[in-house]
Amino acid sequence: MKIYVPRDAAAKAMGADEVAEAVLREARSRGIDVTLVRNGSRGMVWLEPLVEVETDKGRVGYGQIEAADVPGVLDGSSDKALGPVEEIPYFKGQTRLTFARVGLTDPLSLADYAAHGGLEGLRKALAMSGEAIVKEVTESGLRGRGGAGFPTGIKWETVRKAEGAQKYIVCNADEGDSGTFADRMLMEGDPFCLIEGMAISGIAVGATKGYVYLRSEYPDAIEVMNAACDIARREGLLGASVLGSGKAFDMEIRVGAGAYVCGEETSLLNSLEGKRGVVRAKPPLPALQGFMGRPTVVNNVISLASVPVIMARGAAFYKDFGLGRSRGTIPLQIAGNVKYGGLYETAFGTTLGDIVEKIGGGTASGRPVKAVQVGGPLGAYFPVSQFDTPFGYEEFDAKGGLIGHAGLVVFDDTADMRKMARFAMEFCAVESCGKCTPCRIGAVRGVETIDRIGRGDASAIPLLEDLCETMKDGSLCALGGFTPFPVMSALKHFPDDFNANAKEAAE
């Protein structure tokens, strides 16, 4: 009997380890032979721990399982049965390209990985020139999934053409945005996919060394990635001769130290070099003078992990999905006060309203949706009146927002948007790297100004608006430069929350 209990951190947070222990205990006491696989998460976080049993009808699921439910799961009599997991509408409706194996396979079995399409992309790449690989990635239309949406192929081409005896691939796994967990799920659920993507990138641009800068808040992902790198090295996927090709690529996992700004690529590079994570002015571009002053590709986890499927199935296949200039699929992360929270990979183009109401099922509290923050702490708050916005880089930009790393945080009508605006400023003040005054000092002033507004001083509203303009114009990076997005969108769409008198009148 084969049973799957996820090892994903969200599943563990809901008790998966206790369930896994109970499965083994129960199997022992019944004297039955059970193979326990600790898979990744299928992404249906509200169903975690989601236990799966392999049957002749495929893998059947049991949701929200506790240790006490395990006997019923083993008998097939549990009333928490969900039927075949891949038939669950939330799962069935997805287009899983980057996340194809997450939840399906044993994350630390390279054999399982290869049996489910893994390494195909790398094998193809190894038979191609660097130039041809970069061309394929460029033609796929893949844009950076870390937030800025820069075309991945163009970045690679700059590094490929740069002169340098040593080049690097640096994977940005800092994933600090609230409401995002795609990087974590991918690393915990299919680590070889990231390793393969980094190896392809290295082969393409001529870099022999890679680093994953992984945030310290993710101990489970750190453990899985380190174990996967050891296996990959042992099996010849990493090392002096990648899959026996004679081409070298190896990589290391480095742990962050709790600074949000280190997700910004130049701050990250300073941190990786062992310095304070202060943002560097650009130019020089990291592509030309990155880690240790050498040519460096810096890409997000999902950007790199999307490369294997692009190489395996071709640029045209990938590019065929999407909307406008947003090509391919995007792992939406639906979070906050939402009924069906989790990860949903789909082509670009679904409207915000469909994501929140149809896929996410509306709020968990059952109250009306008030606002959705899209793209992390630097992203705008969208009111319900903008629910017709299709999910795409340009489409969100046109509404004064951004998609960022594709996290969506749902708030119900009890949310106080002045408080959320204050939080955005407070967060910016705490996390500022300190280099620019509008960010370092401005954010502190922002908190004070919002407090004044809260005390009923409406004359402080124009001050807040001016301050936001100054931060936008005078900040070196998006921490100071984009904090005005959540603040101004909250003020614009929810003015009543900033008007103490109106609020008292309503109460």
């Binding site: 951190a9 947070a13 609230s178 062992g274 310095k275 240790m292 990860l343 702490p377």
Partner: protein, 158 residues
Amino acid sequence: MSGTTGAAASERILATISEHLGLEGPLLPILHAVQAEFGYVPQDAVAPIAKALNITRAEVHGVMSFYHDFRTEPAGAHVVKICRAEACQAAGADAAVAAAEKVFGTALHGTSADGKVTLEPVYCLGLCACGPSAMVDGKVVGHVDEKKLGKIAKEMRA
């Protein structure tokens, strides 16, 4: 974790440093390793780290103070981090923080009087679809409320 001063400690510090000297950009890995060994980065570690990396002590301090993770003082016996970021706020983080302060007997950023628990804010644990979230001695916990936190507090003090 035995003593953090004296000859034995300084030998452990030197050993930890030398394990990482071959790395490119070894300072963060060294600080993490020293903290894993002692629970914090003792003052006595700063000079040998600076010497080994050929940087000033002020530079080592500068790096340590930039990052939220590094401690210059020991923490309580247990460390509880509770998420205050937006997705958890949408799911009731304020109430969870208040409950945590109550059951663990300390305000955020503090340690309980009995030295058992240090309570710290964290900004996202990647558990945003099962918030409010927390991390207890490195273990993740979702949907935290007063009942769950109370049980954890009780086990810590048992």
